[in-house]
Each structure stands twice: as C-alpha cells, then as structure tokens.
Symmetry: C2
Subunit: 356 residues, 2 copies
C-alpha cells in the first residue's frame, strides 16, 4: 500500500459488527471526567446510553439526572450496591477514586451487570487481582477503559507498525504531563491521597498512558523497569511521584523511556522509532491525538475528529451486543498494575525491577 493510502484506513470502525441495540449504562462516580467527557459521549453514541446516575450524594445524582434527558434514575452508592433499579441499566461504568473501583465492580458483578472500569483498574495489585478473580468467576464481562485502544489514529498507528512501515521498532519515548492543581483546584483531591489513588499520582494517572499505549502498539508486554521519582512541592508531599522518569523493557526487546508529571505544562506524546522510520502521537493522550509517520519514502500526518469516550463506549457496547470478548480485559489491566507497582518499587529501591 502506498503511503498516501494509510490515512483512509482510520475512517471506519473496523471492530463494528452490530448496528442495532442499545446498552444502558449506570454511571458510577459523577466527577469531572464523567460530567465533562462521558455524559456528552453517551449523548451522541448510538449503541450506548446513560440511564442511571450513581453518586455519593443523592443531590449530585439528582442534578445530573435533571440535566441529562436519558438519565431517569438517580441512586446513591449504597442504593446501587444494594441492587436498586436493576431493570434501569444493563451495564456499569465505574469512574470513582482508584481505591473504590473494586467494591463497585463487585456490586455490579453481583447484580449480573457487565462493567467498563476506568484505569488504573484499582489502587493496588492485590485489589486488581481480586477484581479480575471476581469477574472471571461470573458470567460478567469486565473491560478496562483504555480509550487509546479504540482511538482511530492509534489503531492506524498499530496497523502502520504491523505492516512494517517503520521497520522493526527499537525505541519508544512517552510523556504525559499536566498541571493537576490548575485543572482541579483542590489540594485535598483523591489523586493526591495515596489511600485513594494507590501507589502514587503521576505514574498511576498519567504514566499509565505511554506504558499501556506502547503495549498496545507494539503488541508487547513489560518485563523490567527502572525509575526515578520525586515530590518537591508541598502539595504533593503525600505521594512519591509529583514528577517521574521511568524506563520499560518490553518482551520484544524494545525499550521505552517515559516521563510523567502532575505539576508541569500540559504535554503528551508517544514516539516509536524503528529501523526504517518513526511514528509519533503528538498530542497523544488528552482527548486529541495526531499521528505522524516518517520513513524514507515520505511522511504523513493524520487526525480523526472522533470523541474518544464515544468510540470506547460504542466498542464495549458492540462487543456486549454481539456477545464477543473485549479488549482490554482484566488480565490486561492487571499487568499494568504490576508494572506500576514495579516502577514505584524500582524508584524506591534504586534498582531495576523485573516483572515476574
């Protein structure tokens, strides 16, 4: 295929097999992300719809219900866990602080509901294992919400690599940084509280993007890591990684050199350098993604005007309606949790940590 033909590959949902049907979602956790990105995505989605709002406070759930026409039921977390309004939804989207994912996924599974759970899947490896174990035992589908996997130009990037356009991948560089406290002006937010966030903040919340997107693009898994991290500013003193640099060795021999920061200028990118060319996602991760490909035969740049959360909900719903397996499943998310734990251990011990 000539280089100029590649962008056209990103225009269709190559995974779509279902045209009819709707999966009705209970949205568990109504914070910034759900309100700003998930609700609009579901309003324009065709296979997915939000019908239930679940929050810590009935007020907050009621408010969203009154604002969004498709949402007819407002529940507290307790009511959700107790199994109220089970007829009002088919599946559950969990977007609460990391350390609370498990209890809501368990409740959903107890109610026989499939789950789309935000990443990182939990606060610790042990809790992520319990989640995976729980959903394995039931006839419940668990998908971890890696929206890069259904981003059209990220999928195109994977095709570019698979077809050998950049030769053999050898090096990866990834970066994900944002000014967290300018975005969410609350020093007591859960992302800075290790009881709720888990191992830390920058790697859990941001570094997971280059880690996981590299896994997806290379079709490879991490086998060893090293890392440095520090939290010089007082607002970040409860977590070890206001800023972090970490390297990952993948099982295909590729190395990734990554940076992540919750207290820096907003910038995201991922680059894969091969023996014959290179591929760049820049910007990469914050709801807009541009792919650039360069090799000796030429270059192209491509962006698709897609809503990343809509694509993700459509994909998940398609798989549920078609009764097909999902990617990324719990085992996939669990490996990221092990890698993130290893990154924190490597930084603390000052040694390379091998993943078992």
């Amino acid at each position: 295929m000539a280089l100029e033909g590649y962008p056209s590959l990103a225009t269709e949902r190559d995974w779509q097999t279902v045209e009819d049907g709707t999966v009705r979602f209970a949205l568990v956790g109504l914070g910034w992300w759900t309100q700003e990105f998930v609700v609009p995505a579901l309003e324009s989605a065709s296979l997915a719809s939000a019908t239930v709002a679940v929050s810590s406070s009935r007020e907050k759930a009621d408010r969203l219900s009154s604002e969004v026409s498709s949402i007819e039921t407002a529940l507290t977390y307790e009511e959700f866990q107790e199994g109220e309004a089970l007829d009002a939804y088919d599946a559950v989207y969990v977007c609460t602080p990391n350390a609370t994912h498990l209890e809501y996924v368990i409740a959903a599974a107890d109610h026989g509901k499939d789950v789309l759970c935000e990443k990182p899947m939990e606060a610790t490896v042990e809790r992520a294992e319990r989640m995976t174990e729980r959903c394995k035992g039931d006839d419940v589908t668990l998908m971890i919400a890696y929206r890069m996997h259904t981003e059209p130009v990220v999928r195109l990037a994977r095709t570019v690599i698979e077809r050998g356009l950049i030769g053999t991948p050898v090096l990866v560089r990834g970066q994900n940084a944002q000014p967290l406290l300018e975005m969410i002006d609350d020093p007591d937010q859960w992302r800075l509280d290790p009881e709720l966030s888990g191992y830390g903040t920058s790697v859990m919340d941001l570094g997971i993007y280059p880690l996981n997107t590299a896994r997806y693009l290379l079709d490879a898994d991490p086998i060893a890591v090293d890392a440095m991290m520090r939290s010089p500013d007082e607002a970040f003193e409860a977590v070890p990684d206001e800023h972090a640099a970490f390297s990952i060795e993948f099982d295909d021999g590729t190395y990734a050199a990554c940076t992540a920061s919750q207290n820096a200028y907003d910038t995201t990118s991922l680059e894969i350098v091969g023996t014959e060319g290179k591929l760049t996602l820049d910007p990469a991760f914050h709801m807009e993604t541009t792919l650039g490909v360069t090799h000796e035969g030429g270059e192209f740049e491509h962006t698709v005007d897609a809503d990343q959360m809509e694509e993700e909900f459509e994909y998940f719903s398609n798989q549920l309606l078609a009764d097909e397996p999902v990617h990324a499943d719990g085992e996939h998310g669990l490996l990221d949790m092990r890698a993130i734990e290893a990154i924190h251990e490597a930084a603390e011990r000052g040694t390379r940590v091998e993943l078992e």
Copy 2:
C-alpha cells in the same frame, strides 16, 4: 520581552569580541567528520583556518592538502607528535578514535599548542582525567568540542529558560539515533570496537548529546543515572549498547529520560518541559537544529542557517585571540565521561548509580 522578539536574539554571536586575527589549525584525524564538516567550516570561517593535515598515512594527508588551498603542510601522526612544522599552526583540532585523543592532546600540549578535542573527550574516565591534568599543568587551553553550546538557537533556548519563559524546568526528554552502518558501511569501524570507542557506542557517541545539551540548557549537572542497554544484532556484539535507554537526575532536581541507538532510523530531539511551557529542539543534533517554544502566551519556531562547526571554531578562535577562557573546558567534558561510565555501570548492575 514579547514572545515574537525572541528569535531576533539568535542572530548575533553574543560571544564575539575579536574581529581580526586568525588561528591556524592542525587537523589531527582526517576521517568522515573532518572531511565532510570541519574542512568546509574552516574554509568559510574568518577567525580560523586549516593549515596542517595530520593523518595515519602521508597519502591521506597529502590528498587533503592538495584539495584544500589553505592546507600547506601534511604530516603523519608520528611527525606531528615529534613536533614537525610547529610554525605552520597555532592550535590543534583532534578528531581521531576516542581512545587516541589523549596521546595527540599530550603532544599538542608538549608543543605549547591549544587544543579543541572532539567529544567524548576520551575512551575512559581515567584517560580523560589524565588529559585534563596535563592541560591544567601547562599554559595550554583545552576545549571539548560540544558544538551545541555555540549553536545559535540552542543558545537562544538557554536564554528562553533563563528568562523563565517555560517556568521551572521539571522534565527533559532526549533522543539521538542513527543507522551507523548505513552511514559508514564498515563493520570493523572504530565506533564498534571498545578498544577504540571506550565504554560502548550509542551512549558515548550519541547519548552524550542529550546528556550534555541538557546540562548546558539547564545549567545543571548529573548526579545519578539508571540505564538499560542491549546489542541484539551481530554487528554490534562487541559493544553493550546498540540500543540504550537511560535516565539522568540533575542537581536542580530535573529528570531526563533519554534514548540512543546506533541501529535505528535517523532521529534527534531534545525537549524540556517546565511548569509554564515547553521547549523543543527537533531536529536537535545532526547539524541542523530547530527550536520550538510553547507556553500559554503563544508559541514560536526558529532555525538559524548557521554552520555548527564554523560557529564552534570561530568561538574557540575568538577566545584564544582574546585570551579569554573557553567553555566547555576539560573539567566539563570529564563530568560527561563520569556520567557515561555511570550509565554503563547502571545498565550492567541493574541499579541506579550516583555520581560522586
């Protein structure tokens, strides 16, 4: 200063204090780099000129002498070391395999000649120390040839950081990769022979660029490193680092995540992310450099059509003619040698290595 005023800062040589005079150079080592980049640079330089060619073979030296009008003397290495034609040159440029720099710098110093020595300054820390020691003891100026320090937009980048345009720097990402065997089609070349290259090939030859350019831009020094390296291809089996990923902690708290490869697509870049903006050199290191600056107030991109080797020779000559000190001196180069040794040690031991 308004953002649009910044590019104009890169148009003048802010270091230039001398308009008249010429420093006559003996070029020691007539390989690819000297012939392709150094000779043309000196042909158009105004304060520097090549007058002596020194090579392993008289034939090679004679050939260059016949091709370049300013070069009137051709010497073998032995003749140079024995002090022939001392009246024909004022200073020496050393561009031989790393492990041979020391002997030619010592010879130059013995002859009372100032030296511009290519980087990395030698093959090992111990030999670099001997070089520094030798030149400290005499009234001889030693400069290590970091051409990024006199690249107009790299100097502009340093001004941008000093003036706080990107806030406080927090993260650095650097990359330097090239397909060595496509560039120099000889499996027996010195860059792949640890007897001549030193600790390895990719970090010594390429990784030194992001390391040193970050030092220059941040005005900071490395204090700890971690690293991964491997040589999967047979042509690279004598060196440990066909591909490498390494992180550097600087004494200002900044982290740099870097990659280097002698067997990958040609790509170079350096990015510094601060709390208020970011700065990118892309391409960065292979004789063309473009600066990009982005912050909330806007962005600009700038390139200066300068010959990087000419700028470097002009600067060094200016300092000699003005009897002013040079940067980078031997101590500066020596710290890179310690950092590179530490990077190799970190990769081999699988631990972070602190620089003493």
